[in-house]
Symmetry: none
Subunit: 227 residues, 4 copies
């Protein structure tokens, strides 16, 4: 018994070590220039061994993405521990997503890298992909859950489709955070921000956007209650 378990444990550790090495390589430079040779060297393992644990370079990237998503899911899960109104939960989820993007820029960046038709077409069918996709859906389910809570406690309009809106919030916020990343990191957008082509405040850009989104969720008529 113990022996099988130990083997399993060791295998898992090695798997993790490989992902660690892959992260270092993928994150060191541009993701698309990383090579399996580099990763093998970084992991102090032969290239063949890499393929013992991961079917392809892409699977490795997917595993990294998975780590990121797991971290994010962990952050979001805690929100529900506190007792809050639905709208407030939504705000917190949004803020945490932004926090995540800033505290784990590499993971966030890796996700962006993978989120395009070309990449997905290549990946479709991989086992690793299915796993990653499912974990991804979890994230959105948190939003659905928060919306439903809000619809019940009255902090959110009761006439919305929580599935539809969760996706809108997720997609919209994602676009905003992605833009924020580009403005922060990228030479081109940096210019735009710094050269004052536009008058921007990078610190409030995303939080304000979240507030903007929340406006659309609030119950339409606070007036009747006034009566």
């Amino acid at each position: 018994m113990g022996i099988a378990e130990r083997k399993e444990r060791e295998r898992e550790m090695r798997r993790n070590a490989i992902v660690d090495a892959a992260e270092r390589v993928f994150f060191a430079n541009r993701i698309d220039t990383a090579t399996m040779d580099q990763i093998a060297e970084e992991a102090e393992l032969s290239k063949g061994t890499l393929y013992l644990y991961f079917g392809s370079k892409t699977d490795l990237l997917l595993a990294i993405q998975d780590r990121g998503t797991t971290i994010l899911a962990g952050m979001l899960a805690q929100v529900f521990a506190e007792n809050r109104k639905g709208l407030e939960l939504i705000r917190r989820l949004g803020e945490l997503y932004f926090d995540y993007a800033r505290t784990h820029p590499n993971y966030f960046h890796a996700e962006l890298y993978c989120r395009n038709q070309e990449f997905m077409e290549e990946v479709a069918g991989s086992e690793q992909f299915r796993k990653t996709r499912d974990r991804r859906l979890e994230i959105i389910r948190y939003v659905v859950k928060a919306l439903q809570i809000g619809m019940v406690d009255g902090s959110i309009r009761p006439d919305i489709n929580p599935h539809q809106v969760s996706l809108q919030l997720y997609a919209g916020l994602n676009g905003m955070v992605q833009m924020h990343e580009l403005l922060t990191v990228d030479r081109y957008h940096k210019e735009m921000a710094e050269e004052k082509l536009f008058d921007l405040d990078l610190d409030t850009l995303v939080p304000n956007f979240i507030e903007m989104l929340l406006c659309g969720l609030r119950p339409l008529e606070p007036l009747p209650s006034k009566n």
Copy 2:
């Protein structure tokens, strides 16, 4: 004189013919699998000639993106011809952006393909890039303009920073439309939509999102006016 002009005209035509060919190739399959050989053959030109007109394969892609942006700018410009309130202009701009994505999926897709750190890092410094970037800013300036109009005519809250908000609207809507594209095209998201993992209506997803954004732009207190 005439000679120089004719030469210039001819050069421009050939340039266009090359971009035409590049489009056909890039759009025929996955963008990332297109090769300069294919483009040269499609253009019935030698590979060397391609490099006489475009510094790199990337520049070619940028030129295509530029075409798309030009089309979009043309669509948006017309909005201002009509006499509307600022908020209404914003709505129209949003709707047109969505229209654009649906009626020119290839151009839209090309833009998405280019909007990532890896690609931009590679492109930075290219002449073509500067041109494309500027045209891109034009788009956002339309939003700024509409916001300013609205701030004056009272249809939009006066206490916003139009630069900041224009970017929020642009980025947020972009994220939403990108998601819409994935849901429409991609197997993975298609599943999500069709298998009813989520209860979605792809036709109203984006329009409703636009309305949600507008909520945040409306003047805060319609109440006083009621009194």
Copy 3:
């Protein structure tokens, strides 16, 4: 003693089981695409164990070839049980070789696969190879034997060198049967046969060839006997 014997017996059984598995894998697709991993899985054994019984992948193939040759030898041996003239024996041996190729195409094919300089160079020196080679010689000795019988009973020219001729018959027939296999199996030759590039009858091709060979074995002057 009993223990040592049992162990030996068990070892032999396992060895056979491995060859069984190897056959299934080698014969399932193209011989050259089979891998030791596949064989190990098919044998429900670890790869390491395979190497406990066979020194190399090639040895495994050699063992398979050996099986084929053993089958063939068994078929040929029976010919001598019947009481026939030498020339008739030769005819029967030829026919049986053809029968063998048709009834055991996989074994025959494996032999062809191994019968080339490249393969043999790699194999030379292996124990398994020596064994296979010897069994192969057995086959030719049957031909020698039949020739000698015929030289005595007058059905075959007495002025031949039976060693030399046995090899000629073996090699010539082998070339013919190999061609027959290609014409039957291979797309390219199939074309040739079917598209009537050549007017061929695959059923009589080999038998007629055998008769052609027999012509050269018959005593030169049937005339004197006429007197």
Copy 4:
């Protein structure tokens, strides 16, 4: 005009130079161990250039085979210049095939290497292959032609199917020459020959075999000559 021709000529020369280099590499060691890197180095050309002229390593091998077949065809063609009876033509064709195998062992060896199901399956469909195959058929057509001549001039039985018999002669002789090559070159068969396991005379082995084949072609009735 002249310019296009010169280019074409240069291209052909380079193509030839590449095949030259490929020959040197393929023939230096075992055919199956040659690599494109080696060939590129030998040709003092980049690997990429190789692929400009040949679609694959296999095509290169096919081109070499083609050279061999062309040489053989050239040798055989001359036979018909002389005025001979059909049977004599057949004998000459057989002798020349053997000559070819001895004077161009590398080409002959290359052909043997390619003549197996595995290789052909891989090659099927290649342009180069079609060319090679056609040239190969030419060879057999010479045999058909000689047979037909013999059937007319009475030196060959008139009741044969020349297509069928040509293939039998070709295949049979090929098997014999292949065996001769193995006996000459290969360690294993060499042993057999030298250790007197068999009493063989390598010099007469093939010629005698040809005579044996001819026996089957002669008109059935030498009887009339008795009159």
